[in-house]
């Protein structure tokens, strides 16, 4: 017993050390920074104050940024799940070479970086872009797509979709097809069989995929910056703006912690909600 305990500890030690040094320590340091004071021209002044958090909570400007971010994350997650579910079902049921081709088609977009994909959307959405030219050719009135929340929505959706499809399909693969076949043989319509059998069985996968997509959107940086333009604000670019443009580390750190806390709370909330449903 003691031996195996020691072995386990030994095996866990390197990973724990990496996490402690690479994640926990910087977070502790960042938290300490968030309690410091920012004095223009002097940068960070040592202090022990909650004023950065108060400033965030008391200013409608920052609260609106948080609201935009949460709305974007919830919206993208819901649409992603709806779009990804059928794809994941096809992927889960496919066999042989066909499956490899499908899998590759889902994974390939991940080979192109986030920022590069956003740059691609910029070409599509720009004033003289692909979409604009097509609309002009079809003699439709011009619409502004670039630098709109819609552009950001589409951009993040395209980034997150492969992750959601892959997560869902791996869970769907584990579900015994005979369960839904049994429902069908007992007279359920395909829609009813999906609603009463497949969906409840895949709920843990839906939760995992949704949480992944939600977290990715809450922390999105490149897409909002490149496609949202100067007037659109989300949390991660705001953190970067405070730290990199204004050199206001304390406030940037405080915003990071607000973002982290809100993301954690909402994720935990969704978990509890789904767990309860699942049990019931």
């Amino acid at each position: 017993m003691v031996r195996s305990g020691l072995t386990a500890a030994g095996l866990l030690a390197p990973a724990s050390a990496v996490v402690a040094v690479g994640l926990v320590l910087p977070l502790v340091l960042l938290f300490r920074y968030s309690l410091n004071r920012f004095v223009p021209g002097q940068f960070m002044v040592e202090a022990l104050t909650a004023e950065n958090y108060v400033r965030f909570a008391a200013d409608p400007y920052y609260l609106a940024i948080l609201r935009t971010t949460i709305l974007m994350a919830v919206g993208v997650t819901l649409v992603c799940l709806v779009l990804a579910f059928p794809v994941a079902m096809v992927l889960a049921r496919a066999r042989g070479r066909w499956k490899t081709v499908l899998l590759l088609a889902v994974v390939l977009p991940l080979f192109v970086g986030n920022a590069v994909r956003a740059a691609g959307w910029m070409v599509a959405f720009g004033q003289r872009g692909v979409v604009g030219s097509l609309m002009e050719a079809a003699q439709l009135p011009p619409v502004t797509l670039m630098y709109t929340p819609f552009a950001v929505f589409v951009g993040i959706l395209s980034v997150n979709l492969p992750f959601v499809v892959l997560t869902l399909s791996s869970v769907l693969e584990g579900i015994d097809e005979r369960a839904s076949e049994a429902a069908l043989s007992l007279g359920a319509t395909p829609a009813a069989a999906w609603r009463l059998v497949t969906l409840p069985l895949s709920l843990p996968g839906v939760l995992a995929a949704g949480v992944l997509c939600f977290i990715l959107t809450m922390n999105a940086y490149a897409t909002p910056v490149l496609l949202g333009g100067p007037r659109f604000r989300m949390m991660a670019p705001t953190v970067a703006g405070e730290v990199l443009q204004q050199s206001n580390w304390p406030f940037g750190a405080a915003i990071s912690f607000v973002l982290m806390a809100v993301t954690l709370a909402l994720t935990a909330g969704a978990n509890i909600l789904v767990a309860r449903r699942h049990r019931g």
Partner: protein
């Protein structure tokens, strides 16, 4: 064949053997001469490429100094300098900064006071660009750019951006918030130490339908597609954009020509100060200065640089224009930049 036994290999061998006692025999001069590696924190793109081609390769390499570039934006560099300020050895030997940036870093004790004896070329630098803590590398002035096809009356003052005939034709750049507020202040009773009157003036521009672009490059694109017909810009950018076929004319506003200076400074905790000073001196050498003017459109900071006659009209300033030069008040900006940016984000862009 054995490799030639030079001073550098000798030093390396000595250091390797730990024979410190043998060092004095090499003489004080050998130790003080620039050698080894330096890390130059700089903007990327052409700015870095030109330093490589005209400073690092032809001037530093023959001295035995190897130059490594640490590419990034000045905001990142400032953050790095601040974060490393208390360490005995920093990661940069030189930092390229804007005039405001180097002032801020100097005020925060992150920069070395320049030893002019080690940078002899500094004596040729334009006096108004010199500081105690940096070497001016290139400079330009702020102007108005306009598209003559879309703007019938050529502007002469920043106030013309508010002319009714230009409503809806004006663009501003997000990252140029400071200079935009400043230009507005200059036509609304403000000054270089008081940007406050610029805020109300800018809100008028907002109501007239101003377009906001995230970067200089996005503005260039908007001028090209004629989404925008007038903007405030640095002359060097105007020169670059004209060369790229963007249909703009350059106007020097009657309020004055406010300067942009790109500087290089030595952090207090630089590892290789001798080589850093040598780099500063090479930076001010007339040859790379002329090369930067030709390729980049910025103006040399030293009086003895000869710019080729075909580029001179675009990069040099006439004595008349020089008499209208204005320098930003760095003390004011250090104290007010954060609040100006906050106003820009929360009120102007809202």
């Amino acid at each position: 064949m054995t490799p030639p036994f030079t001073r550098r290999t000798a030093l390396g061998a000595l250091a390797g053997a730990g024979a410190a006692s043998a060092l004095p025999s090499l003489g004080g001069r050998a130790l003080a001469a620039p050698s080894g590696q330096i890390v130059v924190g700089t903007w990327g793109g052409d700015y870095q490429n030109l330093q490589q081609a005209h400073i690092a390769d032809p001037l530093m390499k023959p001295m035995g100094v190897q130059v490594v570039f640490d590419t990034g934006n000045d905001t990142v560099r400032k953050t790095k300098l601040m974060a490393e300020r208390r360490l005995p050895r920093g990661s940069l030997d030189l930092a390229a900064l804007t005039a405001s940036g180097s002032y801020e870093m100097w005020k925060n004790g992150a920069l070395e006071e320049i030893d002019e004896t080690k940078v002899p070329n500094l004596r040729n630098a334009l006096p108004q660009l010199k500081t105690k803590y940096s070497a001016p590398h290139i400079y330009t002035g702020r102007v108005i750019l306009y598209n003559p096809k879309l703007v019938r009356t050529p502007p002469t003052s920043y106030a013309d951006l508010w002319a009714p005939e230009n409503a809806g034709k004006v663009g501003v750049i997000d990252i140029q918030y400071q200079t935009t507020i400043e230009s507005a202040a200059l036509v609304n009773g403000g000054a270089l130490n008081d940007y406050e009157p610029g805020k109300a003036k800018l809100l008028e521009l907002k109501n007239a339908g101003v377009k906001i672009y995230p970067t200089n490059e996005a503005m260039a694109q908007a001028l090209k597609t004629e989404e925008v017909a007038v903007c405030i810009m640095w002359r060097a950018r105007g020169v670059q954009w004209r060369a790229a076929g963007i249909p703009v004319e350059i106007v020097y506003p009657k309020e004055g020509v406010v300067l942009y200076v790109s500087e290089l400074a030595v952090p207090k905790n630089a590892r290789n100060k001798e080589a850093a000073y040598a780099y500063l001196n090479a930076l001010l050498d007339p040859r790379p200065q002329a090369a930067f003017a030709r390729s980049f459109g910025y103006t040399p900071t030293v009086a003895n640089a000869t710019v080729d006659p075909d580029v001179a009209p675009q990069v040099e300033f006439t004595p008349e224009l020089r008499s209208r030069f204005m320098l930003q008040d760095q003390e004011y900006l250090a104290k007010n930049d954060a609040q100006l940016q906050e106003w820009w984000n929360k009120v102007f862009k809202a």
